[in-house]
């Protein structure tokens, strides 16, 4: 099982022009802990919507790589998004689910993946070009390579430990997060 902070840090090392959308709760805190960046779009709500933001962004900017980092609860709430993404086949989009099989923000109640619901299998059924589960920190480099060079749509389920880690709180003002992102994307 992976240490979530260490795994996300390894994914985002030397990130270059990578565009990152993070799902509400712990995923947003993990991305912030790896280093605040203007090309991070931090979600603080609208649960279930993270993957679709990634799709809209990937379609708008086919010249850039887009990574969605979110939790199993957020992915499950927007599970139909996998089918919608499968229809559009964005080559520049990767979804990484930080899967601890629990709803961390509400008291660690088990999620569907705890009962063996197989997210990578669902992604493959939705015509993702590549889907895999990872659970060893040595695999982070390969996932990082997929973020930057893999032919999407790509889905990765990262099996992380069921642990409560300290919160690292980035910007919460949605207007500021958006404007900072757009300004950085326009200038880079």
């Amino acid at each position: 099982m992976l240490d979530r902070r260490d795994f996300v840090r390894r994914l985002l090392i030397d990130r270059g022009n990578l565009l990152v959308v993070s799902g509400l709760g712990a995923s947003t805190f993990d991305v912030a802990a790896a280093g605040d960046h203007p090309l991070n779009f931090y979600m603080w709500g609208a649960m279930g919507g993270t993957a679709m933001i990634g799709l809209g962004l990937a379609l708008a900017r086919p010249d850039r790589r887009v990574a969605v980092l979110t939790g199993d609860g957020d992915m499950l709430m927007g599970i139909g998004s996998l089918a919608t993404i499968g229809v559009k086949q964005p080559k520049n989009l990767t979804i990484v689910v930080l899967d601890n099989a629990h709803y961390g923000e509400t008291g660690m109640q088990p999620s569907h993946t705890k009962s063996g619901i197989d997210l990578p299998a669902m992604a493959l059924a939705c015509r993702f070009a590549h889907a895999r589960a990872v659970s060893r920190s040595e695999e982070a480099a390969a996932v990082r390579a997929l973020l930057h060079d893999g032919e999407g749509p790509i889905f990765v389920s990262a099996r992380i430990k069921e642990e409560d880690v300290p919160r690292v709180l980035p910007l919460r003002d949605g207007h500021a997060i958006k404007q900072r992102f757009i300004a950085a994307l326009n200038s880079a």
């Binding site: 565009l19 959308v21 779009f41 979600m43 603080w44 709500g45 609208a46 649960m47 279930g48 919507g49 993270t50 993957a51 679709m52 933001i53 990634g54 799709l55 809209g56 962004l57 990937a58 379609l59 708008a60 900017r61 850039r64 927007g78 139909g80 998004s81 089918a83 919608t84 229809v87 559009k88 949605g174 207007h175 997060i177 958006k178 992102f181 757009i182 994307l185 326009n186």
Partner: protein
């Protein structure tokens, strides 16, 4: 960029061809062409590049027009709230998007609409109304009768369209308000405008 090279007339002509072949356009009623064509002309004018929709008879011609336009990415959704995320992602990437849905779909979106207000994402939403004028199916009435209020409470400016003659002007003005001011604007396409769903033919 090649997206302006295909003229509007060419797209309409292409659509007519596809329609004649029976491939592109399916609708259970004789759908008016004036209002969807007016909305599509506004899409071209303001530079809509992504359109999210759940398949709908009332929107069928507008959807087909968007599908026939190589400048527009048409994104078929499994549920309407996916479209709210799509709009936000498109805007982050510098593109304008529009959403098409039935009034029933508005209810599916409520919490996700918070994304638009929290961040100030422009949104233009085209809602074909059910559950009002001459509705055959009473199960459509509870959501259809509260759609305008739900949109208002969710932060949308809402404009109701009853006549095809008003569509160009009102949609044009509403799109400008949305994209110039990062506002959320909804257009309610009334059942009188669309035509009643014919169940008995």
């Amino acid at each position: 960029m090649g997206w302006r090279t295909l003229t509007r007339d060419a797209i309409f002509a292409n659509l007519v061809t596809r329609t004649t072949n029976g491939a592109a356009l399916h609708s259970p009623t004789d759908i008016e062409t004036a209002w969807p064509d007016a909305i599509f002309r506004q899409f071209r004018r303001v530079g809509i590049r992504q359109v999210g929709y759940v398949p709908d008879a009332g929107h069928s011609r507008l959807i087909a027009l968007c599908q026939a336009d190589p400048a527009i990415a048409d994104v078929v959704l499994t549920t309407e709230e996916e479209g709210v995320g799509l709009v936000a992602g498109a805007a982050l990437g510098g593109q304008r998007a529009a959403l098409l849905m039935q009034s029933s779909g508005v209810g599916n979106c409520i919490n996700t609409f918070s994304l638009l207000r929290n961040c100030g994402f422009a949104c233009v939403l085209f809602v074909t109304m059910r559950g009002e004028f001459g509705e055959f199916n009473p199960w459509q009435v509870p959501m259809g009768s509260i759609t305008a209020d739900v949109l208002r409470l969710s932060g949308f400016l809402t404009y109701r369209l009853d006549s095809a003659d008003d569509v160009d002007e009102i949609v044009g003005a509403g799109c400008d308000m949305a994209f110039d001011g990062n506002l959320q604007v909804a257009f309610l396409l009334s059942q009188r405008l669309i035509g009643r769903k014919q169940w008995t033919r």
